[in-house]
Symmetry: C2
Subunit: 352 residues, 2 copies
C-alpha cells in the first residue's frame, strides 16, 4: 500500500487505545516509553502506515536528530571502522548519520551548500582532505562542527578530535633507530592533510634528534596504487632504505606487498615497514604489521561528547582533543633490544 | 557566530542582489542555476549564516531528498565499497544517504520505528542479516524499498538488486571440479541470509550434478574470527579438503591466512581457496584470491534506477534484478586445463 493521505498520530492513538502523547513519546528519539505500550503503538502505526512527522517537529524544536558526517573515501579501512562506531554511538542517543562523501576521488570537499540544505544538528568532518575553509563555513552557518582525525592550522576555534600524530610518528622513528635502522624512508599521505603534516614533522624531527640524516620522502597520497609506485621508487633505487614508515596502514599494506612480491625483499629481514592507524588488516598474519594505533572507540566517544556538549551550550569554549595511541609491535619491523611490553593482550613498545 | 534568529531567503536575495526565486533555485537539489549566480548567492548565504529550510519545503513537496540505507556491518570491504558508490550516485541526483547500522554485531535489524521517524523518500536495505519482516514493514509504511545484495523468499513484491549468487557458486563448483579437486568444503555465511542460502544451494547442486559427494559445510557467519575457527575445523581434521569455497572474500582471506600461517599449508598446492564478491584485497599480491565478482557499480546504478522509477510512479510493477558476475581467476586455486580467457584486463573462467 503506498501512502496517499497522511495518517495522523491521533489515528494511531485511537487504534492502539492510548493517548496521543503516548504515541508522540514512542516516536520521539530518546524519550522513554514502556516496551509493551511501544509494541502496541508501533503495531498500530505499522498497520496504518503511519510516518511520524519528525520533520514537522524539527521545525518547532529546531532539532532534526541528524548529524552530518563528511568523509573523503572509504577504501582505507580506518574510515569504515570510524563510520560504524560513530553511527552506533549516535543511534544510541537517538541521532542518525547523514553521509556526505567527496564528489571526486578522495580529495575534494563536499559542497557546503549541499550540507546546509539539510537541517543537521551537527557536523563531523572526517575527511583527510577537507579544507579548513569548509570547517569555517560550517561554523559561520551556526552548525556545531567537530573535525575528526584532523585539525585546522592554528587554533581558529574549530573543535577537533585526533590521535597523537606527531608523538606517534616520533615514537616510530625512535623505535626504528633503536632497532638499528639507518637508511629511512617516509611514504607521505595527502599533502594538504593535517595528519600527514603532523606525522611527517614528528618523524623527521625525531630522526634529526637522534642524529640521523633526513628520511627519503616519496608521495603516497593515502592511496593504494600511489603507494605501490612509491615502493617501486624506493626499492628499485641504487640505495634502498632499510626501513619505511608509511603515513597510514592502507599504504603500508601496499608497500609491503610490493616489497615482497615485486622486489623479492623479505620483511623485516631486508626492510622494515611500519604503518599508522592499526586497522584490522594490520593484525592479519599475512601482514603482521607494526603500526601506531589510533583509539577509534575513544575518539568516537569524545566526538559525540563534544557534539552533545555543544548542542547543550552553543557558547561553550571550543576544545581540541588529542588522544594518545600506542605503538603496536608485530612482525613487520626488526625489534629493538628493550622496551617491549605486553599490555591488555597487545605487544607494545614503551621506551624507558 | 552561533545562529539565534532564523535568516530568511529574502535576506540572502537582498544581500546577493538577486530574486528570491533565484535563491530558492540555488538551494534546491537538482535545480539549475548559473555558476556565477550560485557563487554570489552562496557567498551571501554564508555571510548571513543562512540555512535553507529544505525541511519546511519537504512538508510541501513531501520530498526530503533523503534515502535511508540500512547496513549490517562494515568490516567486510564489500559494504564500504557499496556505500561509497551509492552515496556518490545519489548525491549526483540531489539525494543524501541517511545511514542505519544494526545495533548489535552484524545480525540484528535496524528498528523500523527508528527508520520511519525520518521522512526518507526511499530505503535501501543492504544488510545480509535483514529480516524479510523489516522489508515488509517498510513497504507497508508506503516507503519505496529496494533490497540490495539480498532477496526475500519468493516474490512478495519487494524490489531487489543482487548478483547471481546461485550461478556464481555453481560456476565455482565447476571450476574446482575441472581443476581436479575432489574433497570440497564450504565455509557458510550467515544462516538467515539469502546470499548464503543461494550460494550454498548453487554450490551443492553443481557438485551433485558432477557426481561428487556433498561438500563438508562449516559455519563462518560472514565473520573473520568465525572463519578462522572454521579453517581450524577443516585443516586440523583427519581428512582435510583439497578445496574450500568461502561464501565471501572477507572469510576467504581469514581462511587463507589460517591455512598458511596456522596450518603450514601452501595455497594452492595443498589447498585451493575461492571467495565471493571480488573485493579490493582479493587482488592484493598477498592473497591473489580467485573470486566470483559482484558488479558493484552496475548493482548500485540499478538500485538508484529502481528508486527513481518508484518515486516517479509508486504503482509501477516491482522488479527483482539479478546482475551477472564473472569468476575472476587469480592464484589461490589450481587451474583447469581450459576455459581461461582474458577480458577487459581480467583473467576469467568461461567454460565451453
Amino acid at each position: 500500500m503506498s501512502q496517499r493521505r497522511p495518517v495522523t498520530a491521533q489515528d494511531v492513538a485511537r487504534l492502539a487505545g492510548v493517548s496521543q502523547s503516548a504515541v508522540s513519546r514512542c516516536f520521539t528519539p530518546g524519550a522513554s516509553a514502556a516496551p509493551q505500550m511501544r509494541e502496541r503503538v508501533e503495531a498500530a502505526a505499522r498497520s496504518l502506515g503511519y510516518r511520524p512527522n519528525l520533520i514537522a517537529r524539527s521545525l518547532i524544536t529546531r532539532r532534526s536528530r541528524i548529524i552530518g558526517v563528511a568523509l573523503g573515501y572509504l577504501h582505507n579501512q580506518f574510515y569504515p571502522a570510524v563510520l560504524e562506531a560513530l553511527s552506533e554511538a549516535l543511534q544510541a542517543i537517538g541521532y542518525q548519520v547523514l553521509l556526505f562523501t567527496a564528489p571526486q576521488e578522495g580529495d575534494a570537499d563536499p559542497r557546503i551548500a549541499d550540507i546546509l540544505r539539510y537541517q543537521v544538528d551537527g557536523l563531523v568532518l572526517a575527511s583527510a582532505s577537507l579544507s579548513s575553509r569548509l570547517a569555517a563555513e560550517c561554523r559561520a552557518s551556526g552548525v556545531p562542527v567537530v573535525l575528526f582525525n584532523r585539525t585546522t592550522a592554528g587554533d581558529d576555534g574549530t573543535e577537533s578530535v585526533s590521535g597523537d600524530n606527531e608523538a606517534g610518528a616520533a615514537m616510530i622513528a625512535a623505535f626504528l633507530v633503536a632497532g638499528g635502522h639507518r637508511r629511512l624512508a617516509y611514504v607521505a599521505g595527502l599533502e594538504n592533510s593535517s595528519t600527514n603534516r603532523d606525522r611527517q614533522r614528528g618523524f623527521c624531527a625525531a630522526l634529526a634528534a637522534h642524529g640521523l640524516a633526513p628520511p627519503r620522502i616519496v608521495a603516497g597520497g593515502y592511496d593504494h596504487t600511489q603507494a605501490q609506485r612509491a615502493a617501486a621508487l624506493l626499492f628499485a633505487s641504487g640505495d634502498p632504505p632499510d626501513a619505511v614508515f608509511c603515513a597510514n596502514d592502507h599504504m603500508a599494506l601496499a608497500v609491503m606487498d610490493a616489497a615482497r612480491h615485486s622486489h623479492g625483499l623479505r620483511v623485516p629481514d631486508d626492510v622494515s615497514i611500519i604503518g599508522f592507524d592499526d586497522t584490522a588488516p594490520a593484525s592479519w598474519p599475512s601482514f603482521s604489521l607494526t603500526s601506531f594505533s589510533q583509539p577509534v572507540a575513544e575518539m568516537v566517544a569524545a566526538t559525540v561528547g563534544l557534539l552533545v556538549a555543544r548542542l547543550a551550550d552553543p557558547d561553550a569554549p571550543a576544545r581540541q582533543l588529542v588522544l594518545p595511541g600506542a605503538l603496536v609491535v608485530r612482525g613487520s619491523a626488526r625489534l629493538p633490544a628493550r622496551g617491549l611490553v605486553t599490555e591488555a593482550g597487545r605487544r607494545i613498545w614503551r621506551p624507558q
